[in-house]
Symmetry: C2
Subunit: 340 residues, 2 copies
Amino acid sequence: MNVVANVYRGDQMESSHLGHIAVVDQHGNLLYSYGDPDRLTFARSSMKPLQAIPIIETGTADRYQLEPADLSLCCASHSGEPRHRTRAMSMLERAGQPEATLQCGTHVPRHEESYKELIRAGKPLTPVYSNCSGKHAGMIATATHMGEDVASYHLPEHPVQQRILDVVADITGYPREKITLGIDGCGVPVHRLPLVNYAWAFAKLAKPEVIDNPVRQDAARRIVEAMVAHPEMVGGESRYCTDLMNAFGGRIFGKAGAESVYCLGDRERGIGIAVKIEDGGARAIYPVVNEVLRQLGIGVDGALKTLHAYTNPPITNMSGSVVGRVETTFQLLQENRSIC
Amino acid sequence: MNVVANVYRGDQMESSHLGHIAVVDQHGNLLYSYGDPDRLTFARSSMKPLQAIPIIETGTADRYQLEPADLSLCCASHSGEPRHRTRAMSMLERAGQPEATLQCGTHVPRHEESYKELIRAGKPLTPVYSNCSGKHAGMIATATHMGEDVASYHLPEHPVQQRILDVVADITGYPREKITLGIDGCGVPVHRLPLVNYAWAFAKLAKPEVIDNPVRQDAARRIVEAMVAHPEMVGGESRYCTDLMNAFGGRIFGKAGAESVYCLGDRERGIGIAVKIEDGGARAIYPVVNEVLRQLGIGVDGALKTLHAYTNPPITNMSGSVVGRVETTFQLLQENRSIC
């Protein structure tokens, strides 16, 4: 049984989580695994860095003068803080589109104070509060720049989504015709591929020079540079993606996805890591990612220490007392096979 | 692998949940199982009906004229609706104790409108909003009635908690000295026993005449009668416990616990059912309970139909479109052994 983490109440095990891990280098060699590294997985929001590439390739980013912080927001599952909403609105404005163009739907933002302000003012939630509003603003800007129908940018057959599918197939190295689609929480297509291919994609983003197409290579480099230059746009205050990238000071870029997926790239060693928690619950994913990094010897001298709050997160009760903890339990298995 | 439910996005499996099930009759015979029916499990709030028994046995309920609706609230993980808060406050008042005596801590209540009202009024959350405030009010009333220290009612060594431990050991049929303790989300001791023993306890509550001690038998009967007479106090609007008991019109009583536990009793057939989802996530538990009932032929002619929203709950996106579903996957295994 591929248990990756146990949850303890006191010193007794209460619940446990299964998981799958793939560690792949930029040449497509599977280096380490746990569970099923080939598990077919909807990567959800962890593919946002790939979904952002066409914004640059199409010339949209230059046309609307998107700054690195804007591009970082296009890769975000942000908390809906004022800085995120202001920037998403500004991107839409530069493309000449109103907020109502956003097809991401609405949800209560993680940033509590922003939600409370709305309640106090008696105002409804609007789509810009959605954690995906940056990604959608980028898609809308692209459709506008390309002279395509803007209202239907979120549908699978729209050129915006078709370009994304091309990029995903190319950078993951997985045949386009084998990629199956679902609909993501924010209404756009989401792709289902083996975990190893996501890890390979992040390894390539970590070392963009392995991407043959020079336009794509440049776009990939700009996206990663934008994420590590503006980690605060990818998540927000007290968010793992933001804290991870801040801790590693440019070496690591990472992105979480719903249903407990995480993908990250190590720009120093040129490896990509993809993790999926089988049950989709959020609790185990960051401890597991931290433990993968530790076992690979990445950041053990410092960066991981600043992320210690995510390593064995305490379980607290409603009075704030610590009554348990999450503990990882896995040992990566050494592999040596090409996935190409 | 004891998978109990898969989560689909479109027609592709996205995540899955392991689980454990025990079905036991009032005489302590394990009738059906899945996964590990002996799994050591913190039952969490699903043991509230047992935790409420000393309120009656000590004479507290009669002393403070607790009505059936009050006793039902003592078994609740309620949503913090006005009717729940008013009744919890009234119980405290009858015992002459202020709200500040509650040691359950605070959390955002499920009842959104109650939370929004607080925000609009600029008021802080208080303990009566906690889903456990009824249980704690009952404990406080008991300590007051017995002339025990009220401030420390939540600590493991306090007579209130020691009496509960006696009741849990007695009705589950599990040796008191083998029960290990943790601290629950609301700060009181929580017990860890094999799943089969919880199922047996609920089978006994379903047929209290098998409980030898006449005072305990009467208390158990009053608790169950209170729950089925006032299901709205156990949960609230659009809550499974409430809807389940309403659907079965007195035949079934059930109680959810944190980390995805469910216990229920069938008063017609005299059986108890206990379920634990291994990963502790809430999503799979109600579909699994509904499917256990279906496989046992309980409610298939009507009651389960009114609970259909819980059977294969849709996964919706932020725009409200259905993009997936939860599906159960298990087949109960016939057993025939005594757990006594």
